[in-house]
Amino acid sequence: MENELRQKAKELLESGQVKQVIGYEDGSTAFKSTPCFASSPEDADRLVWNPTCVNNLAVYLPSAVKQGKVAVAVKPCDGRSVVELIKEHQINRDDVVTMVVPCPGVLNPDALADIDPKTIKNIEWKGDGISVTTDSGEISIPREKAFLDKCLSCTLTDPAVTNIKLGDSPERSPLKDKDAAIAEYEKMSVDERRVFWAKEFTKCIRCYACRQACPACYCKECFVDKNGQVWALKSTDPEANWFFHMTRAMHLAGRCIGCGECERSCPMGIPLTLIGRTLEKDVEEMFGSGAGQDPDALPILGSFDLTKDPDPCPE
């Protein structure tokens, strides 16, 4: 698969079809990969595809396309971010070539908790889980432990913007219910939730890693950075933190595709995907459509339906 990916990338770069290929390359350790920006056929040899390829690379597209056409390696979930970016006119469909990689699931770092990180040499897919090569031999980790939650509940097929399909899509047999966490959360009373989030948001140090990692947070100037119109205090007082997260959530309403990059990048362990999924569910229930499906659709909050939208006081 990796060879096929490199081959395709090389072809695209050699023929001048694209200026740049965005994919993954080996990171500083064997259990991390890092984004790779290949602009020459030689660079393409650095590309890898393994369970550590977690990042949603769509986040780089709006700025990358400014230099010319870009090919990007996407997992089915990340592909939905590309759909959103096209739908929201941040990139042109013609400026991006999606290379959809077959994804059995990506690494949950917790799976390595019992292994001395210094001894890890390689991580690859094996059976329906992963195999970790260490100094003292090979360790197999089963699927339910190896992959991120979003992967264990994944039912996604190729995104609506597939250009090049690499390998065969793996079979999907979700192990987890996508909404198990939500169901658990919803057991709380309204006031318990208020207290829950007050506590969670108090932890936030406002590093904005969540926003930076988010492919939907592409605003040139985020509302929290504005100096003229200070909507949210820059200090980390609990109210300002709440306001930042609630506003960010509303900005992402109907647009969040649930890649989970915000939560994964948060150094304080705030369960941000819970917010995204809650809102996504509300949107689905109220307006019947979701994010990242149709590049030609109108944004949910940038459109309306005269006959079907819920009304506060139906006549």
Partner: protein, 153 residues
Amino acid sequence: MSEEQVITKEPETAGAPKEWEPKIIGFLCNWCTYAGADLAGSSRLKYPANMRVVRVPCSGRVDPQFVLKAFERGFDGVLVSGCHPGDCHYAKGNYYARRRHMLLQKFLEHMGIEPERFHFDWISAAEGQKFAEVVEEFTGQVKKAGPFKGVGK
């Protein structure tokens, strides 16, 4: 009497401790609800005086941020009201507003703010009566929900 005493002195009539009154903010569309409020006033209709009114050019002007800010600042309730469907001065501002605020209300509940504290409605310039009723009802509803405990603790 010191200055402070003068300021904090209860009016002579206050016997029992003063009842808690909710603080409510209302974002009213200039073309309909705000005029409806005017009509309620000039018709001398009675309604509770808990609401601070912010006049906006259209319900579509009301960014969810306004509502969130109000709760951040500790308001006990927020009302957003605009022209009826089909009557928006800008043709469709209220349709966008409707989507946004119906969603916001649900989302607020999921994040810990009782739906009783937020109300979205249509009130036209001719509906002074409805304005008085809505404000009365909403104020009662917020009162019942009690003082808002805030978002930070």
